[in-house]
């Protein structure tokens, strides 16, 4: 009797299991299609039905959690992902999704923890590439959150393992630029340019990095290279700016005293113009002596202008470079003063890098 009952239950159960499998896969397909078609609300219902027939299917659970996330039901999605993580603590995709949720919820500590979990976690397909992509995402996150030191550390780790192609080099260069490490950025831009001399992004990036570092002639070369490949007004403007900077740069060692004086007086003219613009915008009388920063700058301007004009030797002019740089930087960074002209931008760029250039 027991054998007959067992056999009966066995055959009924086999039919039942097949039916459940069929139902679960049908509803999962529906859910996935809905999710791909950007109908996450529908997908949620369908995926939940799929899960009724296949309780612990981690793929279904994962997709449901994705659908919940897509519907902005972050708490629910997180709950599903956390359950999945409990079952598979080393899962790369689950860690990554949790990291993204933490990022969305502005929980940087959790996000970093889960990103690291994803980087060192298990991936079914192409684990090396997936880990590199996750690290890129982590670096982006760190940059956005302004964790520059950590971002730099991750970038350096990434450079050790990254694929040796122009795109990767370019991405690294851009990342270095974003954290303000122009020197490293320029190095990677150069490699990217070497890999593809017609890569506009790399050329423009290299130009900007060189420009920020005060290597104006290098910057001009890169911008001209970009301009040759692609005729873009923005690139032309950059070339114009760099040319102006080069032509107005009083820190150039190869120019004589007369030329240096000319360039300093040009800077003083631009600053004078900007000062007046600012005074007008802020309704301040520059001819009156006072404690306002613009009035103080104006007094300083009068003094330095006189010093330039009365300087007898080249050495006298060189000694004036530092105080003039301070004045130019102070005035050009004043706000509100209206939109800066190309000359204003050029002067700010030249004198901001005064220390570097002097070195």
């Amino acid at each position: 009797m027991a054998v007959v009952f067992f056999a009966f239950t066995f055959s009924v159960n086999r039919w039942y299991v097949q039916r459940r499998q069929q139902l679960s896969s049908t509803w999962f397909d529906k859910g996935r299609d809905s999710l791909n078609a950007d109908r996450p609300a529908e997908a949620i219902g369908e995926l939940r039905t799929a899960l009724v027939y296949s309780h612990d299917n981690s793929q279904y659970l994962f997709t449901l959690a994705e659908a919940l996330e897509a519907s902005n039901r972050v708490a629910e999605a997180r709950s599903y992902f956390l359950n999945l993580l409990e079952d598979q603590p080393g899962s790369g995709p689950v860690n990554l999704q949790l990291a993204r949720l933490a990022e969305k919820e502005n929980e940087p500590e959790n996000a970093i923890r889960y990103f690291n979990g994803a980087i060192y976690g298990a991936w079914e397909d192409d684990p090396v590439l997936k880990r590199q992509q996750v690290r890129q995402e982590l670096i982006n996150f760190l940059i956005v959150k302004d964790f520059k030191t950590q971002a730099r550390g991750e970038l350096l780790t990434y450079t050790a393992e990254m694929p040796k192609n122009g795109n990767a080099q370019l991405w690294v260069a851009q990342a270095f630029s974003r954290i303000g490490d122009d020197r490293s950025a320029l190095d990677f831009y150069r490699v990217a340019v070497r890999a593809n001399r017609r890569d506009i992004t790399a050329l423009l990036g290299a130009g900007r990095a060189a420009f920020h570092m005060g290597r104006f002639r290098n910057a001009l070369e890169y911008f001209k290279g970009a301009d040759e490949i692609h005729d873009d007004p923005a690139t032309a403007q950059l070339i114009q700016l760099v040319t102006l900077v080069i032509d107005s740069n009083p820190f150039e060692s190869r120019i004589d005293t007369k030329e240096r004086r000319q360039r300093l007086l040009l800077a003083m003219d631009v600053v004078d113009h900007r000062l007046r613009q600012c005074a007008e915008a802020q309704n301040i009388d520059l001819d009156t002596i006072g404690t306002n920063s613009l009035q103080v700058a104006r007094a300083r301007w009068v003094y330095l202008d006189s010093q330039i004009r009365h300087a007898r030797t080249g050495a006298d002019l060189v000694q004036l470079l530092a105080p003039i740089a301070t004045l130019v930087t102070t005035v050009e960074q004043q706000d509100p003063c209206g939109l800066p002209t190309a000359e204003d931008q050029a002067m700010l760029r030249i004198y901001q890098n005064a220390e570097d250039l002097q070195q």
């Binding site: 027991a2 009952f5 067992f6 009966f8 239950t9 066995f10 009924v12 159960n13 039942y16 039916r19 459940r20 139902l23 509803w27 219902g45 939940r48 039905t49 899960l51 009724v52 027939y53 309780h55 612990d56 708490a75 629910e76 709950s79 599903y80 956390l82 359950n83 409990e86």
Partner: protein
């Protein structure tokens, strides 16, 4: 409830295998328990598949059944179930727990096999069509029916047959619940009411074997997935205590609603009984159609969702309230089905809702997840509504597999149990049996009964105490001097004995006065009786021994008192 005359088929003696039964009785019983577990497990697997099949067929495979199925399926199947119950299976009404208790205490373990078939069909249709009932209690009754049928077929003794129904019940519940420990405890706590090695071993074996069978076929995954549960801050116990209080009141509302509505529904004219399950089904379908299909059926998928923070606290609260309403309607309409799953559902929803509100009001107090509160809530309703405090604690531990939560579970469950018991002295199963006119023993009341012990009846030693080496003449003189009718004799190393003064007188008269007392003592020695023994222990020996020596457990030579039949009867009379 109409109680038929018990059809006792098992004779008091003369089993099929009398010799084997004598020699291997216990082992045979344990082996039989395993087979009961296997059969019950197979039956429950088929039962669960049947419920699922009916659900998919009638309501469709989706979690949200479409209109008009959602409205019509529970109503129309309600009509069918009513016809089946009234004409073919009148004994399948209700949950099945009391029917199993009736088999144990009234019908000598007899449960007609037809009941199992009826329960299978009617509960399967009812639960599958969306009636707000669960499959656990019916599984319990199916298991008990199978066990009873097997016992009758093997012509077990009346005593064994009486015990076999709870063994089957444990197997059925264990298979349905996929939690053997909870099932064993429930049967011991609510059905049998006592622990003994023989019963316990059989119950455990049947429960385990049925779970093994169920897991072989249906897999080992729980009915609902348990999220990571945690309890870290002791101050959070306040939040769990509040959950215990709310759960107790919800249990009372649930219980009171059944208490009030059930007799009224039964008192309605007979023709309305054909319509009652259909009307209950229609209302439940309407609630589902109105946007809350979660309350239909057992609802394990939604317990799972509540556990995983898928509902807001407002929705959880609404679901708890609606589930109480729908379960009361389904159950009081006479639809066969269980209350375990609805109790878990209500508990989970209520726990989640209370946890959500507490988190909103006291964000620093509540550190546990909503899933943790839902889990504790299930235990709270188990303790408050079903009145099984031990089972409620172990059920939560068993399904969660996490012992870190034991403190809040014990606290909340105890609070719920105590409040519920003080406001509603009669538990739900006792209430139902009394409404049915059955005077089944209340396990809860039995647990509360004061146990009379020997120390309550004993009096100080007021008879002479002599050694067995004393001579009869001296003993008689001592008895006469003290006016004692009995003499207590210490006879090392055999222990204590007593001798009647008149017997000593007779010995002296016969010229045996110089012999030692040892020769006049009865062959058997006085059984050891201790102050903490139940009074029944002393009563068992009192008619052989006019006085019983009450000994000190640490030193048997030291007497702490005497107890006689008169003392025992007087104490029992009080």
């Amino acid at each position: 409830m109409n109680v038929p005359a018990p059809a006792v088929t098992a004779p008091d003696s003369g089993e099929v295998f009398p010799k084997r039964e004598r020699v291997h009785g216990e082992r045979f019983f344990l082996l039989l328990a395993i087979f009961i577990g296997i059969f019950s497990g197979l039956a429950v697997v088929c039962f669960r598949i049947a419920i699922e099949y009916v659900r998919i067929t009638l309501l469709g495979p989706s979690l949200s059944p479409p209109y008009p199925r959602i409205l019509l399926a529970p109503a129309l199947t309600g009509l069918l179930v009513a016809v089946l119950v009234i004409f073919l299976f009148p004994k399948v009404r209700g949950s099945g727990v009391n029917q199993t208790k009736s088999a144990l205490y009234i019908f000598d373990g007899y449960i007609p096999f037809r009941t199992a078939i009826g329960k299978f069909i009617c509960s399967g249709i009812a639960i599958g069509s969306g009636q707000s009932l669960g499959p656990e209690d019916p599984s319990l009754q199916i298991g008990a029916s199978i066990a009873s049928a097997l016992g009758r077929r093997l012509r077990l003794t009346r005593e064994r047959l009486r015990l076999i129904a709870p063994i089957g019940a444990a197997a059925g519940l264990s298979a349905a619940f996929n939690s053997p420990i909870s099932a064993i405890l429930f049967v011991i706590e609510e059905v049998i009411g006592r622990w003994s090695a023989g019963i316990f071993g059989a119950v455990v074996l049947s429960a385990i074997s049925s779970v093994v069978v169920t897991r072989y076929f249906l897999g080992s995954q729980p009915l609902f997935r348990i999220p990571a549960v945690q309890f870290t801050a002791p101050s959070e116990l306040l939040a769990y205590a509040a959950l215990g209080i709310v759960g107790a009141f919800a249990s009372i509302v649930f219980s009171k609603a059944i208490e009030i509505l059930r007799p009224r529904m039964k008192a309605l004219p007979r023709w309305t009984q054909f319509l009652q399950p259909a009307i209950a089904g229609l209302i439940i379908g309407a609630i589902g159609w109105a946007g809350r299909p979660e309350v239909m059926g057992a609802g394990y998928e939604f317990i799972d969702r509540a556990m995983h923070n898928q509902f807001t606290w407002q929705v959880l609260g609404i679901l708890a309230g609606l589930k109480i309403l729908t379960t009361v309607l389904s159950f009081t309409s006479g639809t066969p089905g269980g209350m375990f799953a609805p109790t878990l559902f209500i508990g989970a929803m209520l726990g989640g809702a209370v946890g959500g509100v507490e988190r909103l009001l006291f964000p620093h107090l509540v550190t546990g997840s909503i899933g943790t509160y839902a889990l504790v809530g299930m235990g709270v309703l188990f303790a408050g509504f079903l009145r099984v405090p031990m089972t409620s604690v172990f059920m939560v531990l068993e399904v969660s597999g996490n012992y870190s939560i034991i403190v809040p579970v014990i606290l909340a469950n105890t609070i719920a149990y105590l409040i519920s018991r003080s406001l509603q002295p009669v538990g739900i199963f006792d209430l139902l049996s009394r409404q049915d006119g059955l005077d089944l023993p209340s396990m809860e009341e039995e647990r509360e009964e004061r146990v009379l012990r020997v120390e309550d009846a004993m009096h100080p030693v007021n008879v002479p105490i002599l050694e067995s080496q004393n001579i009869v003449e001296d003993a008689l003189a001592s008895a006469q001097k003290n006016g004692a009718k009995q003499i207590l004799v210490h006879d090392p190393p055999f222990g204590w004995s007593s001798v009647d003064a008149s017997a000593l007188q007779e010995l002296v008269r016969n010229g045996e006065g110089t012999r030692t007392l040892a020769h006049s003592l009865p062959e058997t020695r006085m059984p050891p009786v201790y102050p903490d023994n139940r009074l029944e222990v002393a009563l068992r020996h009192a008619h052989h021994w006019p006085i019983l020596a009450v000994m000190h457990r640490a030193d048997p030579r030291q007497l702490v008192g005497l107890v006689s039949m008169h003392d025992i009867l007087e104490t029992l009379g009080h």
